[in-house]
């Protein structure tokens, strides 16, 4: 029974493989299913969301920008609601929405300026009047732009995008040129652009770990004692990269005790690679970390999300490491791709805490235990900004003060600072 179940059990890999073959709704539903069952979590959420949104853009029926935005928004909100503890999903949705707005505005700007090149358009963007210009029948231009460098100025003209969308349509219909043909061409081009853009975001997500790792030897010095809490894939890459250039000692701490795995057999790949590079790895089988801190030079862990104020959503226990580091004035380095930057404020920190499965700790066989107390196993928690010294992103190391401008670069004002769907 067990093997056959394993074969039919849905996984992310299978979902991604079947994306092209099945219809959109089925794909969305299966990802929601995976998210709800926590079979897709952490870093996987970003690329899974991107794949689904790509399908939305490619397959959903939309005839203008607004319909496309609506389609992406509704799909995104369903995914967010399936996994409200994964802010990355919302981030990706925002990025894609911003991308669509960018592409759409570029198309329209291009219309304004006829066949002028895109770079000209961008330089002229600040001068673009806020009022939608009257213009002749639309002509199509393929804008070759990087979605990530979309400037704030460009988005200015977009404030009117939604409000006047209908009048634009009305205007177009009233125009002397036949409507249907150029609009179809327009949406077609937009679709291509958006899909290209999403693929670029995918690239960014996939290369984030390596890009972060490039800064490893800047922060890790020879003979360092580096404390790592529950190493994420990003952190592992970072350490392995540093190990190619430096000789240091890694102290790995975590409270995780997978059943049946002896504690010193954890992280086999990381252990093998570090040992091969001559870097010592010590697995700390410890709950408290204060005791080791005098020996430690720096603390490194990965974030699940970084908020606007600089606080981070982290695996439970990272707070312990960060607090101990602060107590002994040791730097805390948080690794986080820019796609994990979440343009939201966190007024209630506790609400981010996520509880895990208590049966890991207490068995139902233990009746007295089940009856007599309540188990609260926190798996993720909010780390306030004052505990973090450096954020290492794929765009380089950052301080708290500059997170705001990075977020402004990556998200449209329309999507920033608002709780997208959780309030609903």
């Amino acid at each position: 029974m067990a093997p056959s179940q394993a074969t039919y059990a849905p996984t992310l890999a299978k979902l991604l493989k079947s994306l092209n073959g099945q219809d959109l709704e089925t794909s969305i539903e299966s990802l929601i299913f995976l998210l709800k069952r926590r079979q897709v979590k952490g870093d996987q959420c970003a690329s899974a969301t991107l794949h689904i949104l790509l399908q939305v853009v490619a397959k959903a029926k939309w005839r203008n920008v607004d319909q496309l935005l609506d389609a992406v928004k509704s799909t995104g909100s369903r995914l967010v609601q399936a996994a409200p503890h994964e802010p990355v999903i919302g981030n990706i949705e925002r990025r894609v929405l911003g991308l669509i707005r960018d592409e759409a505005s570029e198309d329209r700007n291009a219309d304004d300026f006829g066949i002028e090149s895109v770079s000209d358009i961008q330089s002229l963007a600040p001068a673009t009047p806020a009022v939608p210009p009257l213009r002749p029948g639309p002509t199509v231009i393929r804008a070759q732009t990087m979605p990530t460098v979309a400037s704030l100025q460009a988005s200015k003209s977009m404030f009117n995008l939604l409000s006047v969308g209908d009048t634009l349509d009305a205007y177009s219909t009233g125009a002397s040129t036949p409507v249907s043909q150029p609009q179809a061409a327009n949406t077609h081009a937009l679709k291509d652009e958006v899909i290209n853009g999403i693929e670029e975001i995918m690239d960014e997500v996939n290369t984030t770990g390596d890009q972060i790792a490039n800064f490893a030897d800047v922060h890790i010095y020879p003979e360092d004692y580096v404390l790592v809490f529950l190493p994420s894939p990003d952190v592992e890459r970072y350490l392995i990269k540093a190990a190619t250039k430096r000789k240091f000692t890694v102290l790995i701490a975590s409270f995780d005790l997978p059943k049946g795995v002896p504690i010193d057999a954890q992280y086999p790949v990381l252990r093998k690679k570090l040992t091969a590079a001559g870097v010592k790895m010590i697995r700390l089988a410890s709950n408290g970390l204060m005791a080791y801190m005098p020996r430690v030079n720096k603390v490194i862990f990965g974030a699940k999300a970084v908020f606007q104020n600089g606080g981070a959503l982290v695996d439970s226990g990272c707070c312990i490491a960060a607090r101990a580091a602060q107590e002994y004035s040791k730097p805390v380095i948080v690794l986080s791709g820019v796609y994990k930057f979440c343009p939201r404020d966190t007024s209630t920190q506790v609400s981010w805490a996520e509880l895990g499965d208590p049966s890991t700790y207490i068995n139902y066989e233990d009746g007295t235990a089940v009856d007599s107390f309540e188990i609260e196993d926190t798996t993720a928690e909010y780390l306030p900004p004052e505990f973090i010294d450096v954020y290492v992103t794929n765009l380089g190391p950052q301080t708290r003060d500059h997170l705001g401008s990075i977020m402004a670069d990556h998200y449209k004002p329309e999507e920033m600072g608002i709780a997208l769907h959780l309030g609903a």
Partner: protein, 463 residues
């Protein structure tokens, strides 16, 4: 003489029982160091016992040897059941090591010796795999009973094994086990011809016991304090004090000590601390500490309604036992299996009760690793941190800089790639107060006042 006679008769009865076991062990090839003692025992049993009863003509060495063998037989019969009971009270997970030990004293020697080779191999490189930067710290190790000094008393052997295997873990339990074992040592002690108890007992009998215990696991401060006290008492005896009188005096001293410094202290601390628990408050504690448990139960008995938030150590899991006990006593218990989520737990709590293993002269708290994390976080979030500690755990000479000054390595998690320290140190500034059994009135004092308390106590107890 009453004790003497008792011993002789008792010695006769159980003698046949251990004899086969011993010879069995001897025939076993894997019990090398046991051979000399057991060989001497089996060959000399019929001759020496009457000889000893008849006259005191034997050489001192032979007499001592005979005595060791004899008391082994007695105490094995007398103490083994008690130790078994004690062991079952101790830690749950790590008990496996102690049980064969308790049994081995009765009859299951071969099974014990069967385990030896693997243990011996493990011991050899146990220290070599400690990471270099922590290599200055001591670690408990399982000294085979056969390798112990021949003068080590069986009761002490048993206590040592229980400490090495962490069946007896916290400082007060270890102190109590040590003192009870020393009582057996004193009871079975006979001053050799031409010697006096006050001159002979400590260097020739007591010191080997202490050395053995220290080898099994580094002594905790309370043991050090008690042993100093005991030695001071022995030295006070006049050289001409009759042996019986001196022995009785020592036994009484130990009994008083256990009563005052352990039992009464526990009672007073629990009473004082329970008064600090307010109605409807939420008390946060870490792991399982005897004093904290007593305090909470006592507050419940006093009719207070409060809830307890227990943070556990996933590598020890002692807190589960506490959670069960409290839950069954009708206290509302929130159990958090690890330190993660501490922030949320602290927001709910208004008092943090921590049990201490020891307190340094500087007022720093030595407590199970993780305690400092909680104390710091609690103080930062404005929750008061109260430590509970008997004065016997105070040390007036040692001052720690950080957790690497005085600490122990956990032998259970010491493998080539994993490592764990047993304790951490909590700086004074993160402890709002220490509750001790001392002081008239409430017995609460700031941690900095430890030295002052000791000075005020000033009796020769901790001199």
């Amino acid at each position: 003489m009453a004790i003497e006679g008792n011993k002789a008769t008792a010695g006769g009865a159980p003698a046949p029982a251990p004899a086969p076991a011993l010879s069995q062990a001897q025939s076993h090839t894997t019990a090398p160091a046991a051979a000399p003692t057991t060989a001497a025992a089996s060959t000399s049993t019929p001759q020496l016992t009457p000889a000893q009863l008849k006259a005191k003509a034997k050489a001192e060495k032979a007499a001592r040897r005979a005595q060791a063998k004899e008391t082994k037989a007695i105490v094995a019969a007398a103490a083994a059941p008690a130790q078994d009971a004690k062991a079952s009270k101790g830690g749950k997970g790590k008990q496996d090591g102690s049980q064969p030990q308790g049994k081995s004293l009765q009859s299951h020697r071969p099974s014990m010796s069967g385990r030896r080779p693997s243990v011996a191999i493990m011991e050899k490189d146990a220290r070599s795999i400690i990471p270099e930067c922590f290599s200055h710290l001591p670690m408990a190790k399982r000294v085979q009973t056969s390798q112990a000094h021949k003068d080590v008393h069986p009761a002490v052997l048993a206590a040592g094994q229980q400490m090495a295997t962490f069946a007896i873990k916290d400082s007060i339990s270890r102190l109590e086990a040590t003192l009870l074992a020393f009582k057996k040592v004193i009871e079975s002690y006979e001053t050799p011809e031409g010697n006096s108890l006050s001159r002979h007992f400590v260097p020739h009998v007591l010191n080997p016991q202490i050395e053995y215990l220290t080898e099994c696991r580094p002594m905790c401060f309370s043991m050090g304090n008690a042993i100093r006290l005991l030695k001071a008492k022995v030295n006070k005896f006049d050289i001409n004090t009759p042996e019986d009188e001196a022995k009785e005096g020592l036994l009484e001293e130990i009994d008083n000590f256990i009563r005052e410094r352990i039992s009464l202290a526990e009672f007073v601390i629990a009473r004082n601390a329970s008064q600090l628990i307010q109605e409807h408050s939420v008390v946060l504690t870490y792991g399982r500490h005897r004093l904290v448990e007593k305090t909470l139960l006592r507050a419940k008995e006093a009719g207070k309604a409060f809830s307890v938030s227990i943070i556990d150590d996933p590598f020890e899991k002692d807190g589960q036992e506490l959670a069960k006990t409290l839950g069954q006593a009708g206290i509302e218990v929130f159990y958090s299996p690890k330190l993660g989520g501490l922030g949320a737990n602290l927001e709910r709590a208004d008092t943090v009760l921590l049990g201490a293993e020891a307190i340094f002269a500087s007022g720093f708290l030595q407590a199970p690793a993780g305690t400092a994390d909680i104390a710091v976080a609690a103080t930062r979030s404005g929750t008061k941190v109260i430590a509970l500690c008997e004065t016997i755990n105070f040390d007036r000479e040692r001052i720690s800089i950080d957790a690497f000054t005085y600490n122990e390595i956990d032998p259970e998690s010491n493998s080539p790639e994993s490592f764990r320290l047993l304790f951490d140190n909590t700086p004074v500034k993160y402890i709002a107060g220490v509750i001790t059994e001392f002081e008239s009135g409430t017995g609460n004092s700031p941690a900095q006042a430890i030295l002052a308390i000791l000075r005020k106590q000033e009796e020769p107890t901790i001199a």
